[in-house]
Amino acid sequence: MKNPFKNNSQLIQLLQQVDKLLTLPPFTNRQYNFMEICGTHTVSILKYGFRNYFKGRINFLSGPGCPVCVTSQKDIDKVISLAQMGVRIATFGDLIKVPGSKSSLEEQMALGKKVDVVYNPLDCLKIANETDEEVVFIAVGFETTIPVIASLVLDAEKTGMENLSILPLMKTIPNILNFLLSNLENEIEGFICPGHVSVIIGKKPYKIIPERFEIPCVIAGFEPVDIGLAIESLVSQIRIQTSMVDNRYKRAVKENGNPAARRLIAEVFEQADVEWRGFGEVPASGLKLRERFSKFDAEKKFNIKVEKVAEPKGCICGEVIAGKKHPSECKLFGKECTPDSPIGPCMVSYEGACSAFYKYGEQ
């Protein structure tokens, strides 16, 4: 399938239009700070050269939108402690290399512990079916992934699965944006909202951002032209002094998102205060299993107890995902910390800001 959204000539014209806008007030004397929430946007912005192109005019900050990066050190330790107990772990591949305070899943695998990497969480049903061992799926993810995790729990209930549970580490986006603006000192002046989270939640949950903070938002796709359209939207909104939630990814994001997916989420999970790396506990920013499904909660089933631990010394992942610092400001970046021997999760995940900066170069 030929993809018209990769079209270079249209992108060039679009960028020329943005260039023109950026010569007009209020843009003339300073750099503007836009935050892309989603890690996949961070990668697109670096990979297609947008960061370089707008250097000195637009500063792109990467936000808390990589599920692995926002998982707290304590939660990573819970995963490791499950593996140490001899429970069979099923996980998305990104988590394997994330260092806990003493070990990583990768190390546990080397020590002979069983870890299955799954692409589709429903594969856990098959794994659990074929073994008598206890299987735990490490449930990280945002709204994009949570309907799939909800389906896993419902199917496990339906088939009377006794040896399968999940470690609930899911997080939700809208309240964390509110938190970023209300509690952390950063200078965000526009948000590029995550395209595939928006596929599920639609436009409405973001409205609080322009309404309360007067900060423009744009929902964007991931192709070069999509990023160009998103930047054009934010720049135009600032230029005419308005702020709204503009949907520039209409081919995938409906006004009301995907209600069937949200019904599934609501059937299985309820809102909870959860811990984010670098931010601590944030009210109503994640999900826990409803009472009816509590037997699928690995934290309860295995009575996991871990100490509260400090994040790795010198690692500034927390500040990176808060939009306060760039990966290059970390003293360990590219020296002690590289994708081959990562110190923090932002260097592990393909879409972590540190890994993206490492791969596509600090520009």
Binding site: V68, G141, P147, V199, N258, A260
Partner: protein
């Protein structure tokens, strides 16, 4: 991790469908889409179709792009 890729639906049965991505056929779950038909393009994430890609809207976005670009000429 929230990456989703467009697949084309080849056939469907209950909550499962066979879809084509880059010439490879895969089984996907369509339980969270109300109305999917053969030949539709859907966005697939973690084995689930999470939304139908709207061809009309894709066209409208490209038209919008053309308009914006024309302003700059």
């Amino acid at each position: 991790m929230c990456l989703a890729v467009p697949y084309k639906i080849i056939s469907k049965k209950g909550i499962k469908a066979i879809a084509d991505v880059f010439g490879i056929k895969k089984e996907i779950d369509i339980r969270i889409l109300d109305d999917v038909n053969v030949n539709d393009y859907v966005l697939v994430h973690a084995g689930f179709a999470i939304q139908k890609l709207d061809q009309e809207e894709a066209k409208t976005t490209l038209d919008l792009l053309r308009e914006i670009s024309e302003e700059s000429v």
